[in-house]
Subunit: 331 residues, 2 copies
DNA sequence: ATAGATAATCTAATCGATTAAGATTATCAA
DNA sequence: TTGATAATCTTAATCGATTAGATTATCTAT
């Protein structure tokens, strides 16, 4: 493999000049430039990225930590990240949090070892808080950590859940169950808060049996719906904190021979493609996932280039999308 | 940031010794080792990966080229890749082919520039053939290129489609439509061949109107099903080359007020989570996606470590999964 | 005591690209 | 023709980790 030296020799210039042609950062005489370019072509020269990175002491890789490869919501965020990354010439490295269960979370090692220029965390828990502190070059997407100064972008989880719950209340439902994506998950906790707030404002007592813990997955939706349906007085509406779980809920209800929404209403959260693929189509909260990804990558770029980020905590609105899975309750 | 030199100075040894402690590749006196480790700790030393990579002239990043971030099938493959990557300490870099429309395909640049150690292509078309030739360090997963010596792993697309078609024939269907994932897509073409073969063996004439071109997406499934349903004699069964498209087909049929499978049978391909989330649940071909990913990464590891790959062309069997979306036709 | 073997460690070069500092050349005005 | 200025190019150092080859210390056998 040819390197700068070879090219320099062939073009009868110094390596410095070759490098200047390469980077375009300094002036080079047009004639010289052509000689160098010709030499590169003849030698089929490809600059070695490792050398460049070492000299410049930075990688252009961005690590994206995905909580769960099985949850397709994150891929929509990833698409937004990718578009922005393409624009600014970053490469995306991904890690699945789920594969690391139990092991220590050493994502930040990548940062300290300069293997990546930054880390975008899709969702975080309190666990990561300590590790994150002291690291610039971290952006949190789809969630937020209280009390630390990390740029983040996410939907207003509380408000969105509040909206959905009010919608269900307006449909005359009083026995509403909530399936969380995990009690220790920040985004899900906020959705639960919004849910509870709506009930409370409506003057309804919370039934602890109606609060269930899933893990955002389809399977956990099935499982928790099964549990709910076995109660003496099952709910008339189930609000799941993700579309994956909501799809599982629908599946569970249908397997029991009941109908959605005629017998039980089901609501989701995220508005991923799945939401409109299932039957009945899901009434859900639309998260602008793509946009969230773009924001995250945009803030990362600001961090890396040392610019001041205007608006470090960005919150976008979730939109209530009414489809077919919820119906007025006629007790 | 501390580097080997600083550590060496502090531990009163040479950088060579520090490095030997770091890599563990050579003998170091236990006492010296402890001194070095202590120095590292005191300085909070983190080895710089860029230096290491340059010296060793290799990156441990593997580029995975995903045809379409929107198709969740690939994420199941990705999970398999990730597990194996974790095992062998590779990092995964991903690229979305869809974002590169029109631009020249310069994935191989990453290889030449040593930015990645290898490339796993999820699906390829004839277009990439020329670029691939001459590159070792490439593995193709979920597809295969004829006439080139590239390691590949995929299901037997033809046989699997043949199986499914025979199943539909056995259910007494005679007017069967096929929705391709793209006529220029190798995997999809082979599925079409299997489909046609089954019809032919059964002595059925192929109706060109029943062969449609989608792009593996949910939306294209809706679109092509709409077209099929508008025919004078619509098919009694629709076989889509992906679950995403099959889900779209079901949606389209239901929107027209018809029922699946009572009015029309629908079959898919892939057996992703979506297949059992939709109603009715999809009868489909199960691809061992996870296993395919593992194989791909395994072969990549062999390539990188210079070992001879036993069985360069690996083919796994697709399994017919019978669920609810197909039913016997009573003309 | 000494040569020879072995183990532990060090010195200095190396990977390939970039760049600061300095050298050289070209250009122009006086 | 000289001096000043700008344009262009070169030399050599640099980024941080690794390693071939040299050196030193330690031990064994004679």
């Amino acid at each position: 493999m040819a390197n700068v030296k070879d090219v320099a020799k062939r073009a009868e210039v110094s390596t410095a000049t070759v490098s200047r042609v390469l980077t375009g950062r300094n002036k080079v005489n047009e004639e010289t430039k052509q000689k160098v370019l010709a030499a590169m072509k003849e030698l089929n020269y490809q600059p070695n990225y490792l050398g460049k990175q070492l000299r410049e002491l930075r990688s252009n890789n961005i690590l994206v930590v995905v909580p769960d490869f099985g949850n397709t919501f994150f891929y929509e965020v990833l698409q937004g990240i990718e578009i922005q990354a393409l624009e600014h010439h970053y490469e995306i490295l991904i890690k699945n949090m789920k594969n690391k269960e139990g092991e220590n979370l050493d994502y930040f090692k990548y940062l300290h070892q300069k293997q990546v220029a930054g880390i975008i965390m899709l969702t975080v828990g309190e666990k990561e808080k300590l590790e994150i502190i002291g690291n610039d070059r971290v952006v949190i997407a789809t969630s937020h950590l209280k009390g630390v100064d990390i740029p983040s972008i996410h939907v207003d989880n509380e408000k969105s859940a509040y909206k959905m719950t009010n919608y269900l209340l307006a449909l005359n439902h009083r026995k509403i169950a909530f399936i969380s994506g995990g009690f220790d998950t920040i985004s899900s906790s906020n959705r639960l808060i919004g849910f509870q707030k709506a009930l409370k404002e409506y003057g309804l007592e919370m039934n602890p049996q109606y609060i269930r813990e899933g893990d955002y997955s389809f399977e956990s939706g099935i499982r928790e719906a099964n549990n709910l349906l076995e109660l003496d007085t099952p709910p008339t509406a189930i609000f799941a904190a993700s579309d994956h779980m909501a799809a599982g809920v629908i599946k569970s209800i249908q397997r029991k021979g009941l109908r959605v929404p005629d017998d039980i209403s089901v609501a989701g959260f995220d508005d991923i493609e799945l939401a409109s693929a299932v039957t009945p189509e899901l009434t859900t909260i639309s998260q602008p996932a793509f946009q969230i990804g773009e924001h995250a990558m945009d803030m990362m770029h600001q961090l890396i280039t040392g610019k001041k980020i205007q608006n470090k905590r960005r919150i976008v609105e979730g939109k209530l999308i009414i489809r077919e899975s919820c119906k007025i309750y006629k007790g």
